[in-house]
Point group: C2
Chain length 333, copies 2
């Protein structure tokens, strides 16, 4: 079986791992540690733990345990002092306290959840993401990106982590042994870069013999990746892992429905869909163009009215995994 | 294998089940639902769930999963809005919310913890324990017993539950099929009676063909069971399950060390150890007199000073189980 290292965090990794899990591959999911919003943020502040939210999502994606146990991990309490906390975050925080460090707590959680493969935090130390705006102002905390209107108005110049930390040793080991390294999908500044900013990650990818696949996001974010096309994203990655290091980039060709697209354009600006800019010749990496769009689930409700229940433009886990497996084992898939 | 139903709640049941688990018997642990103090009380008030604390202890006792998972169940958060909550209580509360009722949540937790046998709440509905003092005043809530000084000063006349609820159907089924019913050890008013006060429990024990064993507590509580001897406890039980219904009663003969006894006498009054009153002839039940006292753990610390780490007069789980197995399978043990 091929050794696959995925790099991301949050919903993007959840989607990718949910799909990949069904294939015979060895998965090591490397997860960013920048999240500091919501339940995760409260736990970091109140208990001094490392951020459990993104790890939780990856564990659930790879879990082969009962539906109830997976539902439990995402269950959010609704009242009192527990309000807003997801049960899985509490599990990870309690295990971190019991085992004495986050990475070992994650390993225990992986056993409880009977996961396929492994989930590894990119760093096993407390680190915060800082956002430098185009006017020079620095905001502290990943959650600022989604909740501080300045980001949308002024725009991000760069992000960095504080303090500078080194990668958790297992991460570097898995990258070294990887046959394929799959970066993304995931929030560019919020999930992907916080992995590459950790010392040792970019360099070890550069040095590794693995084939590197980049799953380009479907949409851009206002103030963050305005007007980015596929090549912009790839160039950003290669700043960390070396020019020409990306072998494949996947790009979604299917347009979302008009209503959904209008909703995005209203919020994220005119070029909210990532463009391909086909005119560019010889980009140095192979572009895999396919339909990766999550299918709109059509649910028949009372009175036979049809509702489109999807409200996000997202990757479809099965479509994404199927295409990736064609890259990973072309003779078989 | 013999079908054993245990009736209790809290630490007493934990001790009993920890010992019994090691023998080849079918265990159904019936647990009282009266607890409303500490983490359990907060969860009842804030989330409207049924009390998880006693069930949690029984699940841990019967769990055959890893030491870490058992430790996790008892882990208490130390900061912020989660302060004082045990992780296991949160697990049970979340599962109750997901499954829609407490008893099914307990079944799911039992699967996660890989328990031997089963843990069954005596009732699957919200019920509160009320304490009537000897001056006629009524206090609401089991936690009043340990935290309201009036109980110690005035004394309990009786306890009752509000509203009157019926036993969870599985409880009656297991009692019907039981070969042995083991009542106690456990807090008399706080854990044991709250089981027998639930409609149907006493009557079904009365009618069952099971042998009934009563594990008498080691100590009395001031304002609650002052000067109770073994026969007083048995008579109290038989008010619910019928005169002469108890077949065996276990009684501890070994005295605790002087220092520990003095501590208890200072708090609980002169006759803090339950007396036997041997003079009584023909009590209608067989008294099994033995050493059931939890061994004082002697730990060598720095400088070779020896400390007695036990600060409670409690049953020893192994001694108790060994004696009970001699009653359950005399030809084998």
């Amino acid at each position: 079986m091929k050794n696959i290292v995925t790099i991301g965090g949050g919903t993007g990794s959840f989607t990718l791992l949910t799909g990949l899990k069904k294939y015979p591959v060895n998965i090591s999911a490397v997860v960013s540690m920048a999240d500091d919003g919501g339940s995760t943020g409260v736990l970091r502040d109140e208990l001094g733990v490392l951020p459990p939210g993104d790890v939780r999502q990856c564990l659930v994606a790879l879990s082969e345990s009962s539906e109830t146990l997976r539902e439990l991990m995402n269950y959010r309490f609704e009242g009192g002092g527990l309000k807003g906390h997801s049960f899985g975050n509490l599990l990870l925080s309690a295990l971190e306290k019991i085992k004495g460090n986050f990475a070992e707590g994650v390993e225990e959680a992986a056993k409880i959840l009977d996961i396929k493969g492994e989930v590894i935090p990119v760093a096993n130390k407390d680190v915060r993401l800082c956002v430098k705006l185009r006017n020079g102002e620095v905001l502290s905390g990943q959650s600022q990106m989604d909740h501080n209107e300045k980001v949308r108005e002024i725009g991000i110049a760069e992000v960095f982590i504080k303090p500078r930390v080194s990668a958790y040793k297992k991460v570097l080991d898995r990258i070294k042994k990887a046959d394929f390294i799959i970066i993304g999908p995931g929030d560019h500044y919020g999930s992907i870069l916080p992995n590459l900013l950790v010392s040792g990650v970019g360099k070890s990818i550069k040095k590794s013999k693995a084939v590197v696949v980049y799953n380009c996001n479907l949409t851009n974010k206002k103030g963050q990746t305005d007007d980015f096309d596929l090549d912009c994203y790839v160039s950003e990655m290669e700043k960390f892992i070396g020019k020409g290091r990306i072998d494949f980039a996947t790009y979604n060709i299917r347009r979302p429905n008009k209503r959904l697209l209008e909703k995005y354009e209203k919020r994220e600006g005119k070029n909210s869909l990532v463009l391909l800019k086909k005119e560019k010749n010889n980009p140095g990496y192979r572009i895999i163009v396919a339909d990766f769009l999550q299918n709109a689930k059509v649910v028949r409700k009372k009175g036979d009215a049809i509702f489109d229940t999807r409200s996000f433009i997202r990757h479809d886990s099965e479509k994404l995994a199927r295409t990736l497996m064609k890259i990973i084992e072309p003779e078989r898939y």
